[in-house]
């Protein structure tokens, strides 16, 4: 899919075109890394500004950071459980913040104003590489969480109610990253495409409610990804009796 076969000067639609960077004989999607660095930079800037002078009576950005911290702690604690949530809270929180800022950055920053030789800037989460990377990290995390906490007893999980469950649980290990990555990728890409198509067809007013819907979807997707990641880890560290 290249650009649609219309030639209107102010709106153009491109999917699957990338700014390729070469690193040795490796190929990279440059635009994804550029926006992801901006996203990471924004998160780090916020964090550094907010934690520079922390006080017992919080003021300014510290309030926001503490709110986020509390929100992530509640999320991790409810899904993973009181015993193990401390180890996994940074990972869950990083997933949530990275996806949330990526999604909102993709919707709110007027990337179109920056012209690239090929491809266009957008949310890093609208690229399948990013979402699969995140989903595979989640898979590795829950295996690591289960094995490090319970050792080989982790595999009791596969026969948990009855051994009949073995094939389903094995299939689950493949469907979990698949559904995680495709849900996020599909939602964000579809949101960007819907807005782009609407802007393309009716450049004024009509896209605005869809953009708000997009912001809503973006936030929800970040929450869903983080919650599911925490839930999978919680499932792996849970003690069966």
């Amino acid at each position: 899919m290249g650009s649609l076969p219309f030639a209107i000067p102010f709106a153009e639609l491109e999917v699957g075109q990338h700014l390729y960077w070469r690193l040795g004989n490796l190929q990279l999607h440059g635009q994804v890394f550029m926006t992801s660095w901006i996203v990471i930079g924004a998160i780090l800037a916020l964090v550094v500004v907010g934690t520079r002078k922390m006080e017992r009576d919080p003021r300014g950005v510290q309030n926001l950071l503490e709110f986020l911290w509390d929100y992530i702690r509640d999320l991790a604690r409810t899904q993973i459980g009181e015993k193990a949530y401390r180890d996994w809270m940074p990972f869950i929180g990083t997933l949530f913040l990275f996806i949330f800022v990526s999604n909102w950055g993709g919707s709110l920053v007027p990337w179109k104003l920056i012209h690239l030789p090929s491809g266009e800037l957008g949310a890093p989460t609208a690229d399948i590489n990013t979402t699969v990377a995140l989903a595979l990290l989640v898979s590795l995390s829950y295996f690591y969480a289960g094995l490090s906490r319970k050792g080989l007893r982790y595999f009791e999980y596969y026969v948990h109610p009855t051994p009949i469950m073995i094939p389903f649980k094995i299939v689950e290990d493949f469907t979990k990253p698949l559904s995680l990555s495709f849900r996020l990728f599909g939602n964000i890409l579809a949101d960007e495409l819907v807005v782009a198509v609407l802007v393309f067809l009716v450049p004024l007013f009509l896209p605005v409610p869809v953009m708000f819907l997009g912001l809503f979807t973006s936030a929800i997707q970040a929450l869903i990804f983080a919650t599911l990641a925490a839930y999978y880890i919680g499932e792996a560290v849970e003690e069966h009796h």
Partner: protein
């Protein structure tokens, strides 16, 4: 416009080295955020939670102490009031008794004086009467003598 390629360059699912590098990036970000965000903010929040907890326990203890002191003071006040009441009662009884004693002494005094006066009056009357009787007897004797002498 390329055909609807799914995989490979230009496709929707164009996997390449972006994937592992992005994963590496996110792992690094996790460690950096853990050091810069989760740990320091967690420390501050937990410190505050501890501070609130201890302050609360402190306040509760102080309140209990104050309540204990208050009840003690109330008890003391009650005892003092009762003591005062008793003192007043005693004083009233004392003064009553003194009054009665004084009245009794005064009455006895008055009675004695009256008795003495009456006795004196009686004695004087008796002496006056006896004297009068003597006088009358003398006069009668005189009259008798004079009449006898005249005969």
């Amino acid at each position: 416009m390329t055909s609807l390629l799914l995989f490979g360059a230009g496709g929707l699912f164009d996997f390449d080295a972006t994937l592992p590098l992005m994963a590496l990036q996110v792992v690094l970000l996790t460690f950096v955020l853990n050091a810069l965000f989760f740990r320091p903010v967690g420390r501050v929040v937990e410190e505050r939670e501890g501070y609130v907890k201890t302050s609360r326990a402190d306040a509760k203890q102080k309140l209990a102490e104050a309540e204990k002191l208050e009840s003690e003071l109330k008890e003391q006040l009650k005892a003092a009031r009762m003591a005062a009441q008793k003192l007043i009662q005693e004083a009233e009884q004392d003064s009553d008794q003194l009054y009665r004693e004084a009245i009794a002494v005064a009455t006895a005094d008055a009675n004695a004086t009256r008795e003495k006066a009456r006795r004196e009056i009686d004695a004087q009357r008796d002496s006056a009467l006896s004297q009068l009787e003597g006088d009358a007897k003398q006069l009668g004797d005189l009259i008798v003598n004079r009449l006898l002498a005249a005969q």
